[in-house]
Amino acid sequence: MNRHVLVLGAVVSSAALVLAGCGGAASSGGGAGDPYRVLVTGGLSAQGVLATNSKTSVISAQASADEINKTGGIAGRRIEVTVVDDGGDPTTAVTKLREAIAKRKPDLYLNSGPSVIASATLPILQQNKILSFNIGPTNESADPGKFPLNFDLSPSPTDYAKGFIAHAKEKGYQKIGILYGSTSYGASFVREMHQALTAAGLQVVGEQQFDAKALDMTPQLQNLRGSSPDAIAMTAYGAPVGYVLKSLAKIGWTVPVLGDTAVSATSLVSTPPPDGVLGTDQVANLMMEVFDSTVYDPADTSVNTAVAAMKAKAEGGVIPSTLINAYNYDALALVAAAAADVGKADDPSAIAKAIEKPEVLARAKTAILHDYHYSATSHSPNATADAFVFIKPSRLDSGQFRP
């Protein structure tokens, strides 16, 4: 009997050791002499615009690492960036993340979107207590109660609405029509925009949806015209932007159109003819919301440093898309400031708590968004209206518009 108990005990102990070995993540080390390991994933091999955006996202992390390493790294640890291609596919992202954790747990994880990647990877990051920054927010990703070690980098639709309100008030627009696509972002845009505009004392006089595959927006615009708005707030990306502009010209309606950041990311409006419509009558009444860092300013040293560092990392020296995808540059700056506050970089919980401090956020040398407003109750950047500007469509150079 005793022998059986001993054998059973040995088997159970062995099994526990094996399971612990399989299930537990490899240690990240984290000693003062170890590099600060950053894992960046992105859909580099994905099709189309996702790949372009991911490339910008990846080089922004690499450029930021170079800049911070020049000044001693994160709490004295040199940043080491590992780039993994997830193809923009959540299944691949999960597999690659698990592989990386099993091999050697990263200190920081940066994803390059889209939101489905965040949804898939956040539980794994939480389980392994890995600090993370996220470009594609989900409904829960900014909730510290659910994911205390994750921070969203992209402003929320509510934040974007603040920019619209400021511009509408400046121009004296009282009645706003909203035009949006039949996507989840479109639904979120119209909901948040309606709520924010109404709360700000502006009147939403019409809301029109278009199918993401629609080829003509004339009926929607005729409907909006019937409600006599002073301006139209619009979210659209790619060909639908062109269809809206063509339809406006067709019906001869010269209402001001306020496009969101998706509109500004559509190259059609920032490219002169014959490849685009920049400078034509079609864009005469279009204004686009962009980050202030996305507009070239020779006096903005922090952004210009970031752009130079990114160009040094980019293939052929060309930043593939607008700086709106370069948030990862700020992620490392935020971690560096937090680690300086904590005095070490190997405690992700302490780093996360430090990132919630206003004085740490004020010290962080971010460039893409100059100010982040994380708190103990919200890990969304909570950008203020001055983070955004409205500009006329203009030429894009090195990720920045030059009006």
């Binding site: 099709q47 189309g48 615009v49 949806q209 629609a214 003509d216 005729q222 790619g238 014959p274 685009g276």
Partner: protein, 285 residues
């Protein structure tokens, strides 16, 4: 009238896709899922010819015809001919459509590219409505094309042979019709036609890699409304779909546009299961 012009123009674009579907269907009883992508390639070639290479429109038409003819011919040889089970064609042509989408993105990128229309880009005021010249041209070309194809199918031996194949493939073979060659020819000719039509579709929709996907399903609905095998049916079906979409967007809201199209589609199929222009025939079994 602005709304009507827009709806009719869109309907004409859908009809072009359905005409391509029909040409292939009549000859081979198969459905080429990639037909809308062939029109998309045609619009990209039109962009390259007119904007990048600065070629005159007739030369670009010939270039688009040749390029898309070749693409369609390759598709027939690679995705259709090796198959023994005709049902597998649905899968392989779907695969071809995905490949063409990917190829277009790799070659021309993902952003919309404006295709100039040789008839001008200024807005015209006609019958109290406003329309671009290309919208009027789309409707005119659709009507002419349908009349031409209907006339040709009854007038020439080739058209009669195709109709014979559509009625009874084995009987046509016994009467000396080279079925394999005609299937190949109709496939490639549907491609050539799609290439030329790209010169008209591109100025309306932009040359964009998502165009094929946007057109494919509506083209199928047009085909089913008009009736599989009926060329006049594609015109009527296309105009119905275009108008329903435009009117539903205007009077019900954009979110109801596609729902309205499918409601009309289901209603028509319930009344006439074979489509508006094809009669169901009883067979003794």
């Amino acid at each position: 009238m602005t709304l009507i012009f827009g709806g009719l123009a869109l309907g004409a674009v859908y009809a072009f896709v359905a005409i391509g579907y029909n040409i292939v269907f009549i000859s081979s009883k198969t459905f080429n899922f990639a037909q809308a992508q062939l029109i998309m390639i045609g619009s990209f070639v039109a962009y390259t010819g007119l904007v990048t290479l600065h070629l005159p429109a007739p030369v670009v038409a010939l270039l688009a015809l040749a390029v898309v003819f070749t693409v369609a011919a390759i598709e027939e040889r690679v995705a259709i001919r090796p198959l023994k089970d005709p049902h597998a064609v649905l899968v392989t042509t779907l695969g071809a459509s995905v490949l063409l989408d990917g190829a277009a993105q790799l070659i021309w990128g993902t952003q919309p590219l404006p295709v100039p229309f040789f008839g001008g880009d200024g807005v015209l005021t006609i019958l109290g409505g406003r329309a671009y010249p290309v919208e009027l041209a789309l409707v005119a070309v659709a009507v002419l094309l349908v009349l031409l194809l209907t006339w040709a199918s009854k007038r020439f031996v080739l058209g009669l042979a195709l109709l014979a194949m559509s009625e009874d493939r084995e009987a046509a073979m016994l009467r000396g019709v080279n079925v394999r060659r005609l299937v190949f020819g109709s496939f490639a000719c549907a491609g050539a036609l799609a290439g030329v039509l790209g010169l008209f579709v591109g100025p309306e929709t932009y040359a964009v890699a998502t165009l094929g996907t946007a057109l494919a399903l509506k083209g199928f609905v047009v085909l089913a409304i008009g009736g599989f095998g009926s060329i006049p049916g594609t015109l009527v079906g296309g105009l119905i779909v275009g108008l329903v979409e435009a009117l539903a967007s205007r009077y019900l809201g954009g979110e109801f546009a596609t729902i309205a199209v499918f409601a009309v589609f289901i209603t028509i199929l319930m009344a006439r299961p074979a489509g508006l222009f094809v009669r169901t025939r009883e067979r003794a079994v």
